[in-house]
């Protein structure tokens, strides 16, 4: 299967640690997944809310690039990118008018529209928790709050997720790493990231209960699979809430003993030290 990686802008800027940890995990499983060449904005910024066609066309161009390179599957680590690409692929496949519009705009004819998966889904489905478990060097004796947010799962008609209110993908992977996952009710709440800059007060009100619930549930850390969620949860929490927020790939890196973890974690806004002290104490005890 020909798989291409669509990092999106975040992973080349604010979420470099997500990008690096993802690539480290890929190579740990001997997966050679190159980026879609000459990729562009996915349309998740202002495009899709101001001009629907532009929103589709931007995403479609990335799919076209991947298709031209023979890709069967495009993996997107960012939930917003995933949502845009997935939606574009969904509509192009189902609606002739949208396909025509896209093909006209891009001056390109799709031979077939590649499948789109988010990184979490990809690792869960293609690598599998069992294979991950076999590679664990240092079991993560941590209590984690897995946080999906909204766009990884919804709308279910587009994402094809069977259980949008009660997903298990991240828990499966974290448990394979040796962690225990807390039960909490805010896993699929929206963090408000798309309003983070325009209505930050509103977003603070949205983030606070999410982070509070994770702390109340006894979690050592929150785990995400989206650069917007990660940044938002760290930036918009109240200053008294000091729970670190990880990318799931970072924790895979830790448990699998991959190189570069320190460098990734140094970029976090909330110190991850506490967690690692606990982990170390657990190992020694």
């Amino acid at each position: 299967m020909n798989v291409k990686y669509y990092p999106g802008c975040s992973l080349h800027s604010t979420a470099k640690e997500y990008d690096e940890s993802t690539k480290a995990v890929f190579s740990a499983f001997e997966l050679d997944i190159p980026e879609v060449s000459d990729w562009n904005c996915c349309g998740a910024t202002s495009a899709h809310s101001t001009n629907g066609q532009l929103g589709i066309a931007l995403a479609a161009r990335n799919l076209a690039q991947a298709d031209a390179e023979g890709a069967d599957l495009v993996v997107a680590p960012c939930a917003a990118c995933y949502s845009r690409l997935k939606k574009a692929a969904h509509h192009i496949r189902r609606r002739d008018s949208i396909r025509q519009m896209s093909e006209h705009a891009l001056d390109y004819r799709f031979s077939r529209v590649p499948e789109v998966e988010n990184l979490l889904e990809f690792m869960h489905r293609r690598i599998t928790a069992a294979a991950i478990e076999r590679k664990v060097k240092q079991p993560l004796k941590l209590k984690l709050a897995c946080y999906y947010g909204c766009l990884l799962l919804r709308p279910a008609e587009v994402t094809g997720v069977a259980d949008p209110e009660n997903p298990r993908m991240m828990e499966d992977i974290m448990e394979a790493l040796g962690a225990s996952c807390v039960r909490w009710s805010y896993r699929t709440e929206c963090c408000g990231a798309n309003l983070s800059l325009t209505s930050s007060r509103l977003v603070v009100a949205m983030v606070k209960p999410i982070v509070a619930a994770a702390i109340d549930a006894g979690a050592d850390a929150i785990v995400t699979a989206c650069p917007l969620c990660q940044a938002n949860l760290e930036m918009r929490r109240s200053s008294s809430q000091r729970i670190p927020v990880f990318y799931f790939t970072e924790l895979m890196g830790v448990a699998l003993g991959l190189h570069g973890t320190r460098r990734w974690l140094a970029r976090h806004l909330v110190s991850t030290k506490m967690v690692f002290e606990k982990l170390k104490a657990g190992v020694e005890a």
Partner: protein, 1480 residues
């Protein structure tokens, strides 16, 4: 219509809930035979699961269990449990029906319901009856009062582990028994199929684990390790003890003492056959001792298990080679009747490359054998093992232990394709074995010239890459050209496969190097000679060899018995018999890890590497089993079942019946609340469904009636109810209203407050639909009296709050978003079609609608799309209990109409011997004390009670039974009655509730009057309640027996009396209800007097002009009147009223009066169908302006073709107010109907509906939605803030507050339409004439709101239609039919029989004061004016005893409960044992 001769007088009722029971009882009482089939093991349906019922707060089980008992004991109702419908063929009157009846595995006739089996059962299953809040066993009784009162076994198929095991070892059973710590029982289960538990607990390839369904959830159960723990534990406790078989004369020879041979010998020996085993090697055990290294399988382990086989009488002779020391022929000559050849595959294969013969290249099998037998093997320092199977691993690890410094496994494919078990590879790596993958040896080179001679020095290898999959499904290695390289080695061990040494096998036909044998039966070319194991199949797994031995033994036994070798045998379990994976919500749990000795230690020696799991770990691991098969067939229940009722060999069967009609009432299913993920059901423990809450409230439920939270078992302080979960919800495909949830939640909120004083209950709702009789009052009481809080809001999310476990609800009200915390959330889940509705419908040949409910006639809701097939209850749509019961009777009426000509043709009557005269005789009491299995006997000392009974005066015989109610005990009781001339019988056992009728019947069968019986309840009243106090319990049991005997001595025979019946009915009221009832009665064969006070028939329905769902009201009414008028059995009296009536059930004389004449009619039953009237509005300017009209007037106007351009409707005019505190039920539907009609005629017309709660219950919700979609505007108003109305000449102006937008609206419309309520008619006169009760609203009061909705308390008079309460036309029609069959249950009898235990009068001391008359609720007491004493109308008396208690001077007495009898019991109670115990 077919002639009566071909019709069948039987009816099939499918579904035994309250609906099915009611239909069955009505039909059986009306002279038809009934088959009552239910898919569950017991009848009772959903009502059995409920705690209380609204609006009376009656206990559901208390009011239902008499029906259960009546149904269960009715001579003409045959209950068929576990049945599903297969087909219905034929035509109305003569259907042939096929049912599939699931095997119960328990004989209903033998089971005494003692419950010993369930206590022995190791399998816990989630209890569907308790809504998964509790568990039950795989053998179970659904609920304590279950009918039939017997256990049933749940089997889901062969568990996948057992199906995957070649030897069919019952893994689920031994794992389950292990989980309970029953090691010995577990080992016995293994020994049924396998003589090597210890061996296979260590070295099996465990295909069971690969098949284990648990693997889909996390990881398979560690079945092999558990088997080892079982075997090791039992060995520590003295080893297995196998039952010695009965010897048989035949001798069988087995050639080869490996696993295949010994397994065969074992199974033959267990059948008593004497077996001699011949083995070539000096030791028995085959590959178990010469193949598998002892660090994996210690020799003493094998030895012990071989010794067990020997202990069964198997003679093993070693050093005996076939073809050398003996031949097959010689064996037959020596008198062996059959021979089994299992010589294995002990010869190693070769690679076929140059240099294989060099010294230093050795064979793996031979290598292992030599090491095992203690022979010398020379190894170099550098050893290469070629191969990737378990032999390769064994050879490599053995080489390590022999001191080789460098051991390399060379394999041509990758680790993915390797056949050795992953744990083997892992352990080899830990011990330092290196793996060289994708490598094939090309040649072995020696130290000599050109490498072709001398000692082995190096190996030439070639690299491979993987190509296409080969026959084994693994990818084929393809050599890479030019990739040759060399490996320096001193020794090469070839482990590339094994073959059978065919020397000495020349008597048998061979094929491809193995013995040719039939794969299924293992027969060879010689009759009587069988062969199996590796010698037949080529090298295989140990467990396959063992399986072959077992299969050979089966063939040999069949051969010896002269039976067919093939019949009923298959090589593997067919896929459809394997239990499917159940997506259970089990929590993930790590698989137990088997511990090993440290690698450094184990490299040094051949001591066992792996440790057994300890007891705690093993039991924890065993508890991970998902119990896929449900029943595991461990047979523990069979062991403990005293009456021998359990039979695991039962099979499903097909039952064929001939019936005249079919009634379908299989019930409904509930919406799965987990589908609304935002409420957290299934994830968050303190969010439960309404049925779970019901079970929580129930005293017999999993929480014994304690309302506590599942998470911490703490009492909640705030409970929230969320309505419409899966109802009125287009997103989840159940867009209709479930009709009962509003009241159900209200009741739960009220009852919760009774359980937990001070608890706050809040109901979140869209509309409160309290539309049934007395529902609105109940709702108001819930609010006002109980303080239940109602919040009109839909909850958008439920979040769990940590660590309290509370729930945070977010909802939107008219004043914005709110969040609020609760301790417990109850989801009012909606009704869905029955899970098997589709299958039932296609089998019955009826159509379903878009929701999956049956298509029914718009005016006769019990008529399905197929004539002769009727539907009722929640199967045909969501409804509450009274409507269900009404429909059940209506369906019975329809069937009874169809079969009126064949009534009493198939009913049975039981004949009894004539009764012995006992009056005036000395009491001769027989006492029978029951052990009830262990229920009584394990607490109460039964022999002591028997001895005590013997000494009581009047007792001439006492005895004990293990089960007094078992059939053989019943026979014994009858014999003893004759033998000892007993004239009174006392049974000391369980409870009269379930067993009194049985024992009374026994007396009748023995020729005694059945009332000469007394039951002492020493189970419920002693052993169960004093379980921990056996001495005191025994003393109390003795006292209870003394009391029973004291009463029994004074018992007198009781008799019933009979009275004649006038087989005619009087129907009062000529609307559609009265006419329908009259027609139904006539069609059922009874003549009718139909009285209507108006000049013409038709009643209120004459005003219905517009249809709601496809009916044609005018045509329907015309047709109905025509049918009534032309019916020869109906005499119609118009402009006539009932003036007076005397008499009672069966015999009435009623005076009818019209302007012209007064006449008297005689009849046996009465149906009251007098209807009701439209309320005349007193508000909104009605009567002052012709622009203000009622719905009825609007309908007339529309029917005339005038459609206004704009109308506003106001709901609840004259309903739900202080003067009329009830809901008129029909007005919301009527408003929607007329609004839709206006919109259909004039789409641009403006229609506004001002409402309080839209009560378009059930499927009427669809029309409400259609109206909104059509643009009708619905505006809510509060009763405190009604719309203000100003009529003008050209219309009406309304102003009102619209809560949805929070602003005042002002509308101007052409007409204002008032949705006026339904008012009771002038019923007082009729109530007086027939002495019938009216409720506070002036409607007639039925006997019981839930279960007797069309009966009056006084038998013989029935009720239907609007006279009962407001309702829509189809509901009135159903009620009319129901009333008709209720009357037929009376009229169809030849004569009326009274009860026996009824009131009587001691006339000598009666002063005729009349207190008894007013105390009697059944009109059974009266004053005999001539003799001036009170009298009893015996056929009416129900034996309630109210008059006896009321009588001031003791003149009223209750037969069977005489004062002298009661005093005698009290004397006993206060004189002996028990008081002393209390004093101590």
């Amino acid at each position: 219509m077919m002639d009566s001769a071909r019709k069948s007088g039987a009816v099939l009722v499918l579904g035994g809930g309250i609906s099915g029971m009611q239909s069955a009882l009505d039909l059986a009482e009306a002279g038809l035979r009934v088959y009552l089939a239910d898919s569950a093991p017991a009848i009772g349906g959903t009502m059995a699961r409920l705690d209380k019922t609204f609006p009376t707060n009656d206990c559901a089980m208390c009011i239902m269990s008499p029906k259960l008992v009546d149904t269960g004991r009715h001579l003409n109702v045959e209950i068929i449990p576990g049945a599903t419908l297969l087909s219905v063929e034929g035509e109305p009157g003569a259907f042939s029906v096929r049912l599939s009846k699931k095997a119960r595995y328990v004989d209903l006739k033998k089971c005494t319901s003692c419950g010993d089996c369930a206590r022995a059962c190791p399998i816990d299953r989630s209890s569907e009856f308790d809504g998964a809040l509790g568990t039950r066993k795989a053998i179970y009784k659904m609920y304590p009062q279950a009918t039939p009162n017997a256990y049933a076994v749940e089997k889901r198929g062969i568990p996948p582990c057992r199906a995957a095991c070649p030897a069919g070892v019952n893994a689920q059973a031994y794992v389950a028994l292990l989980a309970q710590g029953k090691y010995r029982e577990a080992l016995d289960v293994i020994y049924r199929d396998l003589p090597f538990p210890s061996v296979c607990g260590r070295v099996c390839q465990h295909p069971c684990e690969a098949a284990c369904h648990r693997g889909r959830l996390d990881a398979p159960v560690s079945i092999m390790a558990l088997k080892r723990t079982i075997a090791d534990t039992v060995w520590l406790e003295g080893g297995p003890q196998l039952v010695a078989p009965t010897p048989r004369p035949e001798k069988v020879a087995v050639v080869g003492a490996g696993p295949a041979g010994l397994s065969c010998a074992y199974h033959l020996a267990r059948k008593g056959i004497s077996v001699t085993v011949f083995e070539k090697l000096p030791v028995p055990g085959g590959m178990m001792v010469v193949g598998i290294p002892s660090y994996r399988l210690p020799r003493d382990v094998v030895q012990k298990e071989i010794d067990v086989i020997r202990s069964l009488g198997v003679d093993i002779r070693t050093g005996q080679a076939l073809g050398k020391d003996f031949s097959i022929k010689s064996l037959f000559e020596k008198g062996f009747s059959a021979v089994y050849v299992a010589v294995g595959a002990h010869r190693g294969r070769r690679l076929g490359v140059p240099g294989e013969d060099l010294p230093g290249v050795i064979d793996g099998v031979e290598f292992l054998r030599k090491v095992s037998l203690g022979q010398t093997v020379t190894l170099g320092a550098r050893v290469a093992v070629v191969g990737g199977g378990n032999t390769a691993m064994d050879a490599a690890r053995t080489a390590v232990r022999l001191g080789a410094s460098e051991v390399t496994v060379v394999y041509r494919r990758t680790e993915q394709e390797i056949t050795a078990l992953p744990e083997e590879i892992e352990q080899a790596k830990e011990e330092g074995v290196r793996f060289l993958m994708l490598t094939s040896p090309q040649a072995f080179l020696g130290t000599g010239k050109l490498g072709a001679s001398g000692r082995l020095a190096r190996m030439e290898c070639l690299r491979n890459e993987l190509g296409e999959p080969d026959a084994s499904g693994r990818r084929r290695p393809v050599p890479v050209k030019g990739s040759e390289f060399y490996l320096d080695v001193d020794t090469v061990i070839l482990a590339v496969g094994q073959a059978t040494d065919t020397k000495g096998l020349d008597e048998l036909r061979l094929s491809g190097g193995t013995i040719a044998a039939d794969p299924l039966t293992l027969e060879t070319s010689i009759p009587g000679v069988f062969a199996g194991g590796d010698a037949v199949s080529g090298p295989g797994l140990l467990i396959q060899a063992v399986a072959a031995g077992k299969r050979a033994a089966e063939s040999i036994v069949r051969f010896l018995d002269g039976e067919d070798l093939r019949e009923g045998r298959t090589l593997r379990v067919p896929e459809e018999e394997i239990a499917p994976y159940e997506a259970l919500s089990a929590t993930k749990k790590k698989r137990a890890k088997v511990m090993c000795r440290p690698a450094g230690d184990r490299r040094q020696d051949f001591k066992e590497v792996e440790f057994a799991l300890d007891d705690a770990t093993a039991r924890e691991e065993a508890s991970r089993c998902l119990a896929c098969g449900a029943c595991c067939e461990c047979l523990e229940c069979e062991k403990v079942c005293g009456p021998g009722a359990i039979d695991h060999r039962m099979t499903d069967e097909v039952v064929e019946l001939t019936v005249g009609s079919v009634i379908l009432s299989p019930g409904f299913s509930l919406f799965d609340a987990a589908k609304k993920g935002e409420y957290g059901f299934g994830q968050v423990p303190n969010v439960i469904s309404s049925i779970q809450f019901e079970r929580m409230l129930s005293a017999s439920g999993p929480y014994q009636g304690h309302v506590v939270r599942p998470s911490d078992h703490k009492e909640p302080k705030r409970i929230a109810f969320i309505q419409c979960v899966g109802s009125r919800d287009c997103a989840h495909a159940s867009d209709y209203c479930s009709a009962v949830c509003c009241m159900h939640a209200t009741k739960e909120a009220v009852i919760a407050k009774e359980h937990l004083p001070g608890v706050e209950t809040t109901i979140f709702y869209m509309d409160v639909r309290a539309f049934g009789k007395d529902f609105e009052r109940y709702y108001e009481r819930a609010k006002e009296e109980y303080g239940v809080r109602y919040v009109r809001a839909m909850v958008s999310s439920v979040k769990e709050v940590n660590p309290s476990g509370n729930l945070r609800l977010r909802y939107h009200t008219e004043s914005g978003f709110r969040t609020e915390e609760f301790d417990l959330v109850v989801l009012s889940v909606g009704f869905l079609p029955a899970a098997d509705a589709q299958q039932v419908a296609s089998s019955a040949g009826i159509l379903l609608d878009e929701h999956g409910f049956p298509v029914t006639d718009p005016l006769l809701p019990v008529a399905s799309s197929r004539p002769g097939v009727f539907v009722s209850g929640a199967f045909s749509g969501p409804k509450d209990i009274p409507e269900t019961v009404t429909e059940a009777s209506a369906a019975a009426a329809c069937a009874s109409e169809l079969l009126s000509g064949v009534r009493h043709t198939l009913t049975r009557v039981k004949r009894y011997p004539s009764e012995r005269e006992v009056r005036g005789q000395e009491p001769r009491v027989g006492v029978f004390v029951c052990h009830c299995g262990r229920n009584i006997g394990s607490v109460v000392n039964v022999p002591e009670v028997v001895a005590h009974a013997c000494a009581i005066p009047g007792v001439v015989h006492a005895d004990e039974f293990l089960y007094a109610c078992a059939q053989d005990s019943i026979e014994k009781i009858k014999e003893r009655i004759k033998e000892y001339g007993l004239n009174r019988v006392v049974v000391a056992s369980c409870t009269p509730r379930t067993h009194e009728a049985l024992f009374r019947d026994t007396l009748r069968e023995a020729g005694l009057n059945m009332f000469l019986f007394e039951l002492a309840s020493i189970r419920e009243h002693s052993s169960w309640v004093h379980r921990d106090y056996p001495v005191e319990a025994t003393a109390k049991a003795k006292t209870l027996v003394s009391m029973a005997v004291a009463k029994a001595r004074l018992l007198e025979p009781l008799y019933t009396v009979f009275s004649e019946i006038e087989h005619t009915a009087l129907v009062v009221g000529g609307g559609i209800t009265g006419m329908t009832a009259a027609l139904s009665l006539a069609r059922q064969g009874f003549s009718v007097h139909l009285v209507e006070k108006e000049a013409e028939l038709g009643g209120n329905y004459r005003h219905v002009k517009i249809a709601l769902s496809g009916e044609n009201p005018g045509a329907y009414l015309e047709e109905l009147i025509g049918a009534v008028m032309s019916c020869p059995d109906i005499r119609v009296y118009t402009s006539t009223e009932v003036a007076d009536s005397v008499g009672y059930k069966g015999n009435y004389k009623t005076t009818l009066r019209s302007v012209h004449e007064t006449l008297e009619v005689r009849h046996g039953a009465v149906v009251i169908a007098t209807g009701a009237t439209e309320m005349t509005p007193k508000e909104y300017g009605y009567g002052e302006s012709d622009r203000v009209i009622t719905q009825r007037e609007l309908e007339e106007m529309l029917a005339k073709g005038f459609v206004p351009q704009s109308v506003a409707m106001i709901q609840c005019v004259g309903s739900r107010d202080d003067d009329h505190p009830y809901c008129s039920r029909i007005c919301c539907t009527n408003a929607v109907k007329n609004a839709l009609y206006i919109k259909s005629k004039r789409p641009d017309a403006k229609v506004y509906v001002f409402y309080r709660d839209m009560r378009t219950y059930g499927f009427r919700e669809k029309y409400y939605r259609q109206a909104r979609e059509a643009g009708v505007l619905f505006i809510r108003y509060d009763p405190d803030e009604k719309p203000r109305v100003s009529p003008r000449d050209d219309g009406v102006v309304l102003t009102a507050q619209d809560p949805a937008i929070g602003r005042e609206v002002r509308l101007s419309v052409e007409y204002l339409v008032l949705s006026t309520g339904v008012a009771a008619g002038a019923n007082e006169h009729l109530a007086r004439v027939f002495k019938l009760p009216l409720n506070q609203d002036g409607f007639f009061s039925e006997a019981h709101m839930k279960l007797r909705p069309v009966d009056f308390a006084a038998d013989g008079i029935y009720l239907a239609g609007l006279a009962h309460s407001p309702k829509l036309a189809p509901e009135s029609v159903a009620q009319a039919k129901a009333a008709a069959i209720r009357a037929v249950t009376l009229l169809s009898k030849d004569r009326i029989e009274s009860e026996a235990t009824i009131a009587a009068v001691r006339e000598r001391i009666c002063s005729a004061c009349g207190v008894c008359v007013s105390a009697c609720p059944y009109e059974a007491r009266c004053i005999d004016e001539e003799r001036n004493v009170a009298a009893v109308r015996e056929v009416l008396c129900q034996g309630c005893g109210a008059c006896v208690a009321a009588c001031p001077n003791g003149a009223s007495v209750q037969r069977g409960f005489d004062k002298s009898q009661i005093m005698a019991m009290l004397d006993e109670a206060l004189s002996d044992g028990i008081t002393e115990v209390i004093r101590e």
